[in-house]
Symmetry: C2
Subunit: 333 residues, 2 copies
């Protein structure tokens, strides 16, 4: 045995032991923006149980899949979904190239600043707005458009960048899960191409771990250069019963943890929490009208009604934002 | 500074230096089933250039995305795609429950053992066979069916399990890339649900890194239990121009390395090798009628015609299986 090997044996072993102990020693620091209470404890209890080797609830690393809704779960969604606010900004930016919009709804109302009248057309009106702003360009061009917008547009209430409106306690949950061997995915009704632009920077979630709604794309070669065109045609709606379908399509195995905030997440939570092994489901309940917004059963955005009942019936964790989070946004101080 | 910290600084630094040197020291052992030659050297040259920090070709780890076709690239595809052989076996297994198949093509011919007559119906006949065997059950049930088949069915020529017909040199490429920070994906015309059953065991590629053709699924709650039903309806065909579309849909960024063997992979290679940064494209050319099969421009399975020309025009690597691989299958000795 060389001197180096002897020294390694002598000093590395204590170091490795220290490293092995570290996760639980850090236990008191994780989830710092969460108040002590049942919500936080339920997360820690679940994570500690599935990582404990030899325990009945142990889950091997490759199966530690956690899925998160985005709007209302990882970042805000009021007064309108942020992606819809992006689309409205784009309509204004594109208006000079579309003189016909002055006399055509929903564009005419939008351009007069009357969002309510524009959206009164319901889903067909929203689809017209989405298609006009999310298709007709290459995927690279769309990336650049979103990238420019997300770096500069400000939220109408807080005056902050939209990316600053990620919930600090949820960012801590993402980090905590990843530190414990989980792979974290977004599974959102929002647009997959929209979220991928900022998900890695804001959430630490790479593009290949985003599941979302999408339009069709076509592969074309233009002037010798291959490109993907975004077409004005729906490919997949990743909402409600579409969420477990999207999870199966993209991930191919059942998650063991799911986080949502609305009835649109209910089927994702049902799918996750009916798996044969250990599982964890959590609803974020928006209860803080001062620091954020308060809404649930009556809201059109982030409608949470059946989900609240299902959570009570099934023993899922329900986060009371006002009570359980000592900080909502990182910018709060 | 404690004694432990002093010792760590003294002995860990040399250890880290040793570890940093290790990858190139191992360089001579990687790709052991590849003969020395331009094909092997082109792979090593590419990998060494993108991992060299500070070099102009350096690519950060998250962007090291490599995509592999499956049939004919990672495992065999003759005399028929293995998934089609699975479907034919299933037709026989299901025949007792379908007395009507005795008088209905393509089933009648199949059950008489006349595969050629059954497949004479072309794509519609194949679709009927695929739908009869890949839908009408839950995703969990389908997993189990494939799992049982892949563990026991034998290839008609080699008498080996199909999973033993993975190409040893390509398994080494997968490992070599992953050891250098690449994330490896399958992007195949084959069924996503079929490949996911064995991809982790055989290729070390987890289900969430498989892109493939798929049928639609529906989320249902039956007797209180959520499930996903496989429907007899095409969702996506991941072939030809569908491959870059599938890559965008599942991965969300352009790969920097792509491996294929047929014209069905051409658009995937074009998409990968027209990226702005460093990139690498490789075609496996089936040239070894003794150890495997020899086919290209005239073959209906693994048809490689335009791809060969594009490879020559673009300077892509073309592997001559007979010359470049000293071993095709691990079982060879």
């Amino acid at each position: 045995m060389t001197a180096l090997a002897r020294a390694a044996r002598r000093y590395l072993l204590p170091l490795f032991l220290l490293m092995a102990i570290a996760p639980s020693a850090q236990g008191t620091e994780v989830l710092a923006s969460w108040d002590e209470g049942e919500a936080k404890q339920s997360i820690v209890r679940f994570v500690e149980s599935v990582v404990a080797e030899g325990s009945a609830d142990f889950v091997p690393v490759p199966e530690r899949i956690a899925v998160f809704d985005n709007d209302g779960t990882l970042w805000g969604e009021q007064p309108l979904y942020f992606q819809l606010l992006f689309a409205l900004d784009r309509i204004k930016a594109l208006a000079p190239q579309h003189p016909e919009w002055k006399d055509k709804e929903p564009f005419a109302s939008l351009l007069k600043g009357n969002v309510k009248a524009a959206l009164a057309g319901g889903e067909p009106a929203i689809m017209q707005i989405v298609m006009a702003t999310h298709s007709g360009m290459t995927t690279d061009e769309f990336d650049q458009i979103v990238s420019d917008w997300i770096a500069s547009a400000k939220h109408p209430k807080t005056g902050r960048l939209y990316t600053e409106m990620a919930y600090q306690p949820m960012l801590e949950v993402l980090s905590y899960l990843r530190a414990n061997g989980f792979k974290t995915f977004i599974v959102s009704g929002g647009g997959i191409d929209f979220m991928r632009v900022f998900s890695e920077d804001v959430y630490g979630i790479p593009p290949e771990q985003i599941v979302g709604s999408s339009g069709k794309t076509s592969f074309e070669i233009r002037d010798g250069a291959p490109l993907l065109m975004k077409l004005p045609e729906i490919n997949f709606i990743d909402d409600k019963a579409g969420k477990p379908v999207g999870i199966h399509q993209h991930i191919g195995r059942r998650p063991i943890a799911a986080f949502g905030n609305s009835d649109g997440d209910l089927q994702m939570l049902q799918w996750t929490c009916s798996g044969p092994g250990p599982h964890f489901c959590l609803y974020v309940h928006h209860t803080d009208a001062d620091r954020e917004w308060a809404y649930d059963r009556q809201s059109s955005i982030g409608h949470l009604d059946k989900g609240l009942d299902a959570a009570a019936d099934s023993g899922w964790t329900v986060v009371d934002m006002k009570k359980d989070w000592n900080r909502v946004f990182a910018f709060e101080k």
